[in-house]
Symmetry: C4
Subunit: 277 residues, 4 copies
């Protein structure tokens, strides 16, 4: 019997590889997606670096971050699963989550300086980027988000937004689907890099107006730019020999299209992805 989750597993493995290959995540960090048909579950790799995740590494978890079926002997989950579970619980509109420690965000995580949208692609940081400080509720910790109450506290700090910076730790990004997640992870990193460059340049920051930010956000998330980015990342993975192995050939094609096109847009607006290479 074919695995009905095979397309989702493959998409999630691709997303893991893309954020690694594009330099957003190193040995640590993790990427998840909500279960495609059961919103009370999510999919995430066992504890491995995203760069080496295969579709077969991906397991199902409840929103309480318990494995749906017991993990095989020797298979261990990530330590910070509650980041994912508690955000999916608090935010029914979120279907994909990534947590990472990209260097571009760390100066902001350290200083608490506010991130601002500084160019059209940077509008993907969202209307506001809140901070979460583990010290506020939990005092001295190892900085990780390990306990359910820590996950809930982080989800609360995220609020209705799409990116939260964790003081002295890293960033957690959320999205409506996997393509949008990778897109936001990459372009929010570019925007953070830009803000650092602007600071070094020494001029005053000139952020987008709220109106510009909203319109640029909408535009970036239309099917055409989303599909174009997904194709670009996929081809780069393939050229580098980094595309995940064992992809279910037919299913994966459809899955790729679905992931690329499943933006919050009427189906009528979707392009005939089939014609694309």
């Amino acid at each position: 019997m074919p695995d009905p989750l095979a397309p989702a597993r493959h998409d999630l493995a691709v997303a893991n590889r893309v954020v690694s290959y594009e330099g957003i995540i190193d040995a640590f960090g993790h990427v998840s997606m909500r279960h495609p048909t059961r919103p009370d579950r999510y999919l995430i790799s066992r504890s491995r670096s995203p760069e080496v995740v295969e579709a077969s590494d991906i397991y199902e978890f409840t929103l309480d971050s318990e494995p749906v079926t017991p993990l095989p002997p020797g298979i261990r989950p990530y330590g910070e699963l509650v980041i994912h579970g508690e955000i999916y619980k608090a935010r029914p509109d979120v279907h994909a989550v990534a947590h990472h420690h990209n260097m571009a965000f760390l100066p902001f995580c350290n200083s608490g300086e506010e991130l601002l949208p500084l160019y059209h692609m940077g509008a993907q940081i969202g209307e506001k980027v809140p901070f979460w400080d583990s010290r506020d509720e939990f005092g001295d910790t190892n900085l990780l988000v390990l306990k359910p109450e820590e996950g809930r506290s982080l989800a609360k700090a995220l609020g209705p937004y799409w990116l939260v910076l964790m003081r002295r730790h890293g960033a957690t990004v959320a999205a409506k689907n996997l393509t949008e997640l990778v897109f936001r992870a990459i372009y929010s990193t570019r925007n953070a890099e830009l803000q650092l460059m602007c600071k070094a340049q020494g001029a005053a920051l000139s952020p987008l107006t709220p109106g510009e930010a909203k319109m640029a956000w909408d535009r970036n998330l239309q099917p055409r730019p989303q599909a174009r980015a997904w194709e670009y990342w996929s081809v780069r993975l393939k050229k580098a020999g980094e595309y995940p192995a064992g992809a279910p050939k037919k299913a994966s094609k459809k899955a790729t299209k679905r992931a690329a096109h499943k933006a919050a847009k009427p189906a009528a607006k979707r392009r005939a992805g089939k014609k694309r290479r």
Copy 2:
């Protein structure tokens, strides 16, 4: 019947790949050239990242940015075609255009700080680098250049120069031919990087004099340095397996030479490219 545009298509695909491989353009941005025999048309890829453009992706457009023949089903043009069409309309001396969001320019796009030529290769930014601010005429937008009037406004801001910075968005670069375009795209980026480094170093900028800038510009655009750069980029693409596939073998050789040598110089000054490797 062989495609008379095959050499041009191939050259344009190579130019797309070079600006990608050399790190000027990422998933977004686009590169076009004026039709080699019909100045009322231009060639540009369908909506794909420059890194994956093939000769077969390239279509003909009128200067009003309408496809000369209807695009096949499922084939979509770039959203910002008017950047290209309106510049070709306003500037008969321009034969190649690239639009990108390279990080080195974005701090200038954000702050409005003027770019200056800081070393001989940086003279390729041209006599002056004007700014265009979408807010001036259009108020809040998604920052993209989508409407004909936006393209016309940008072309007007470019004026008689060769590089225009778009506030909170990116850069558009123009040239007399494809080699010059790639050359300017790359070395204007280097000059922007240098200006940022100089600012971080904290000393006063010491730009070229107008006389130096003019002479360095002329020298850089002579056939020898242009051909040397084109060979360097081509070989790097080939070594990396990034050279566009399906190049018409004979036509492409000639085309490469033409692209490399077609500087605004008397034919007598052109070197016997044939002897080169």
Copy 3:
């Protein structure tokens, strides 16, 4: 008769390659480990860049940095062996040492600015990062650590800590095992990069509290994150064709696991590494 040191040699060659591939060490610098069963000896490559070290390049030295058996004709040791020997002598708890000149540390080596733990992974710099200045005891030298008394002076400056910055020269890092050494070498470099970025950003540094630093240090060194990092580095080496040749197949597998799991934790807490991939 199989070489009982084969697994250790292989592990050490892998560690050499990882610190090279991950950009910590260039042509110069060196990595050693204490002999697995004779604490009065250590293993280190003959004088070669870590990027090209093979298991067969590794020789045994006494803690006085003399070869246990005479080196073959034409084989030369590193010039700065006493860095390793004198630290192993002074610190029985140290089982692995690396010396390097990574650019991220050099501004601190030059200015004497104190390194602080600025995110959870940065806690791997340890409680304090002392400085050693060759001028204090030795006046003008070539900056290298060549004489036993120079090595002893450096070991004394290191004191009970795990990382020492050498003024106008580089860094020396120590650890309880090879995995921890590579981990500390990489994440202390990330923390130094972050501190430079924070300085450029211009805000006050917000370091971890001592309690946070201690808990983050402990967490990072648990078997799960250590094994995850080792797998990540190994796979990256293999994909790049950089994994050391001639590894004793069976021994090497066991050795890898041992290296990855041999953290200062009760055996009961160790994961069944065998199940991994």
Copy 4:
């Protein structure tokens, strides 16, 4: 009849490739060596980017920068040959010269800020790094060094030193042999990068004392570190498929050793390179 210059040609091609692969030179810049037996000649590639230079591209020139035999049809020399010829003329102790525009030096070329040795490897910049400003004698030019009098002026500015910075243009580095040249080109770049990082960090520079600089310079140029660096660069080229093709097998081996070992040291001190690898 075998080409007596084959080993030298091969060494020079390797040096060209190394400075390219290690990121010192891009499309422009050039590397030469004095003729091994006729000090009144030098060897340099025809006008090609160092990254693509083959042994067969290398021609002989007099110190007046005239080809010893007429160049074949279609073969063109570099435009700035006089940089090389005039330095060889003025400095009999110089046997290798490179000219480049590495980004790390350009802020210094722009501002005129003095380069200082900031760590032991940085001692390779030499006792002093003079500046040359084309404006002083020649007023407005295209910044290039094209005329014999410009080359002579640059050689005069270099004086008895080993590195000269050319205002708003780039750097020219000299050495006693090819290995030393590559070594100096790479580590002077690292030192320039470090100085920029120190400036960004905001602390006062703490350079080596003259005594330290002299001793570190001597140490770096001993046969062991020179050979170690040459092996490192060569292996990296080979792994990357960048090692120049068509090397005369036996000659090249000897040549490599010669290049690696030919430091200004008594032969008795030279190591049996043959035993290496």
